[in-house]
Structures are given as C-alpha cells and as structure tokens.
Symmetry: C2
Subunit: 309 residues, 2 copies
C-alpha cells in the first residue's frame, strides 16, 4: 500500500454565492463538504487510480468525525488517522458565481499535544514498514515540531521506503535536508526555499540541499523534473482551463502511482501531468475527470530538458 500523511487534515467546505462583496450579507446557494488537507486529496486520487492507500495524520472533534465518515465511504482508502482532542480545522472556499473567483478562509487547526505527536510517531513507524511508498503532504498544525517532516523522512529512509515531500517554508527546508527521494514544490515554494525565481537554477539548488529528485510544478507550464538520471519537462498538449485547486495534489498522486508501478521517469511525469490536468476539469480537489485523464495520458509531451533552454 501507499501511505499518505496529512498532519493538518481539514473539512473542506465549498460555498457558492452570487457575488462576494466585503461587508455585505450573503445567502449561500450551495454547500459541499469533502475530506481535505493535501494528503487526503492525494489518497483519494491514488485510490481512484486503483492503488491501495492508507491515510494517516490527525483527526478530532465533530469536523474530524465528518472527515472520517466520508473517508469510510471512499473505496480503496484505509483510515489510520490518529485521534486528537482538538477539532479538525475547516477550510471555506467561497466561489463567486459571477466571476468564478474563489476566496479561501483557512482555520489554523487544532493544537497537537506532545502525547498526540508521540502516538502518531509510533503509529507511523508501524505503517511505514508495510508501505511501498510514503507521501508527506501539507502544512503542520500548531504543536507539531517544525522539524517533523525531517524526522518522518528519516524514518521512511531507514525502512528503505521511498518518500515524497510536498510542503512549504521551514518544514520544507528542514525536510529537504533529511534527503527525501522526491520533493514537489510549486514555483513559489521553490523560490522561497532557494531564493531563485529561475526554475532550473532553483531546482538544481533544491537538489543540492538534499532532495534526490526535484519535481517543480509550474502551473500551466507543467512539470520540470531534475535528478541524477536526467532532466525533463512535461506539459499537457493544450492548455486546460478550470479550477486549479488540487492540481498539485493530483500531480503528487501521479508521481507516486508511477513510482510504485516502476515506470521510468518520463512515464511517471506523463501520468502526473495527465491526472493533474484532469483535476483542473473536476469541481473539487481530490477528484479528476477520468476520460480527460485517459485521453491525455498518451498525449502529454515529455522532453529531455536542455540546460540552455
């Protein structure tokens, strides 16, 4: 199985309103709720791609109960979330139906107690030993040490299990130094980590900091991957317009899916780009348009990347 870690799980709530105007009162016309947090999106996409997935991290309170109930209804995902006293955070995405714009409100998440973090580490150690790959995704809730991902990367590497890290800021900086197999920053996260806004230079710098493979997600410009075997650029055959929320999580799922299927890197990148683009056409993160995915899979353009290009 593939293990996904979501330390800051969320109940993702989407509101549709006619037009969002600050200082006004709005009638919400439609409410949807989904399990959220990047790792849970990755888990749902992996399960839809046919993989067995175990999802761990933290869940608590009535919002955590809602997340777990919905996970129980998700075929292919085993719930190994660790219970905590605090309530799982909500995120609210307010979709303006006139402009299509989304305004996001993210609660901070519950404070994780030291005993809860210890309980997680114990459970994680056991789960890693039977995992084919591990994904560490998203922000850290309050109370979890900033070096958390570095510790989780080391545990996975000590067990000989490939580990992918997708986070930002200081947790990314420390996690990269623990030498994960793959990191998947977006352009902003990469620039924050390396100080460089030039993707190829920044990607190389991220490798020097410890990541074996760096896969930078560059929005409409697809993926740029660099490792000891080579450099590749992977782009969809045409621009896909839609809701980009969750596209990065789907790229992570595609990379892991290709990894456990032992695909060569160009085919892994093609899978990641295809499922990511197919997510842009789905209404919510963690879901994708299957027909688009299958159509794109053969048509993603993967080219060796020339340093001078």
């Amino acid at each position: 199985m593939i293990l996904t870690v979501t330390l800051n799980t969320a109940l993702d709530i989407t509101y549709r309103v006619r037009t969002l105007r600050p200082h006004a009162s709005h009638r919400v016309t439609e409410v949807t709720e989904r399990p959220g947090g990047k790792g849970l999106n990755v888990a749902r996409v992996l399960a839809a791609l046919g993989h067995r997935v175990t999802a761990t991290g933290f869940a608590g309170g009535r919002t955590g109960r809602s997340v777990r109930d919905q996970l129980a209804d998700t075929s292919g995902v085993v719930d190994a979330l660790v219970p905590v006293a605090g309530a799982t955070r909500r995120t609210i995405a307010v979709v303006d139906q006139t402009t299509g714009d989304t305004t996001q409100l993210n609660e901070p998440g519950p404070v994780i107690a030291p005993a809860e973090w210890s309980a997680f580490l114990e459970s994680y150690g056991e789960l890693v030993s039977s995992a084919a790959a591990v994904a560490l995704c998203g922000s850290l809730p309050p109370g979890v040490p900033v070096g958390a991902y570095a510790q989780l990367v080391r545990t996975a590497r000590a067990a000989g299990v490939p580990v992918l890290l997708d986070t930002s800021g200081e947790p990314l900086r420390r996690g990269v130094a623990a030498r994960p197999d793959v990191v998947k920053p977006n352009a902003d996260e990469l620039a924050e980590l390396t100080g460089s806004h030039e993707p190829l230079q920044a990607t190389r710098d991220a490798r020097r900091r410890g990541a074996h493979t760096v896969v930078a997600s560059l929005g409409a410009e697809g993926l740029l991957a660099v490792n000891a075997e080579g450099r590749w650029r992977a782009v969809p055959p045409s621009r896909v317009l839609g809701n980009p929320t969750g596209a990065g999580d789907s790229a992570v799922a595609g990379l892991l899916s290709g990894l456990v299927d032992l695909l060569p890197w160009p085919a892994r990148l093609a899978r990641a780009v295809a499922v990511s683009a197919a997510t842009v056409l789905a209404p919510v993160a963690g879901e994708f348009d299957r027909r688009t995915y299958e159509e794109l899979l053969e048509r993603v353009i993967v080219t060796p990347h020339n340093a001078a290009a």
Copy 2:
C-alpha cells in the same frame, strides 16, 4: 417560563482575518462558535436577565449537536429543540481586523420534512400551555410553510399567551394578519411590510394590519412603539458605538422581560433600549455588557411621541 421559537437555528461561527480580500487566501486568526438564530440569542439574553426560558425550534446533524451542547452549558435555558434529519445551518461572520467590517455568509438551512413540522407543532402546543409569553423569531427554513408564524400566533392567542413576532417578508406579512400582541420590525422590515419609509406612518399601518403593538427598532434612533394606549420614543442617552449584531434580538428580550414582569410600556421600552445598547458593546450576539445595561437602565429617554414630531 418564556418560550422562544427558532425554526432556523444556526451554529454561528466568527472568523477574524487581517484583511478580507476577494479572490485571496486567508489565514483565520481566531475562531469562535455560538448557538445562533435570532430566537436563541433572545433566549440567552432572557436567561442572563434572570428569566427561565425554554428554547424550541429545530436542530439536526453535527452542527445541531454543537448548538445543543452549548445550550446545555447556558444556565437558565431549557433545550426543547425538535430533532430533524438535516444538519443545522452554519453562519460565518468574517471580521476584517483592519477595518472592523463584517462580511456574512449564511447557509440556507436544512429542508424540514412534513413529519418534522408536525412533530414541532405538537411539541409547541404543549409548551405554549405552560408559557408566560412566546417569542417567534427569525427566518423560516426550507420546507416550513410560509404561513407558519400565523399558525403559531393563533395557537398562542387561543391559549391566552402573549406572543411577539420578529421576522420579515411574507412570513411577517402573514403573521401580522394573525394579530400577534407585539411585532418588532426594523426600519427595512417595516418598509417592506407597509411600503412606507416614514416610521410613524408605517408603524400605524402595521397596526392596522393586525399587530396590537408595533415596536419599530430604528438603529441608533432607538425604538418607536405604537399601540392603543399611546405612542413612545425610547432612545439611549448617548450614541453607543460597537457591533450592532444581535441588538434587535436583545431588544426583543427586553420587551418580553418587561412584559412578564408586568412593567408599564415606558419601562419595558427602557429595558429594551438599555439591553440592546449594552449588546452593541459585547463582542457577539446573544450577550451584553451588564454594567452598561445597569447604567443605561435609569438613563434611557422615553418620551410620549407626538404625531406631528
């Protein structure tokens, strides 16, 4: 006891953000949750004024459970909410800490099934028979007939129990025709009911439509009350600045409190204005600043209102 009816109960959630900008992502710095819906605010203020209160209406789902848990911790309020299959709605108030402005997002509320409405009517009939007064407050959830308040007014009047109605639109129009003892519209609701933006004329018109006493809440200009005994204007001694959310609900609580204490109308209005103004100084609806209330109680200016004024 005083019976408050809140058909569209809510879990009121308040988010604080640094600056609200449409299309941006926001980190919520503070989250608070309170039982909401106008009638539950009235119930909490009445309890704080020393009355025994029974709160009925509907509650369902995990949000309904949160509302009921918090009511259980509210001294003086007996929970007689009728369970429903749908989930109690959330309302989100997003407070911009830079400007102090509030942006409101209101979920529509669960659809009430015919059997749930019947169960409520049966329970209401029993509760009314032991009530000293009834308050019918707020909007109707989907599935409840638009003539609901008219029916609830008639039941209370048939039992000889004084009934106050605080709603808007068509439910108010129909409810007024059932001859409630008191209606408490704000300026907008009164104008919508009568077509007149001139408060005294509109207040008289609302009386002609069936209400025995009309108490119009005019924001900073206090209350204007008209009935067969006379006309009064009640205003605070000075303007109170703060958060007006819940001020109208507190005015309803003050009116009912004065009614069951058999105060003459001018003293009822003074109580309503004092507790309403003291609510403006409290951070959330359903609460008030007790010291301000006690100070204002003797200083509210109540004057007979001259038709020519």
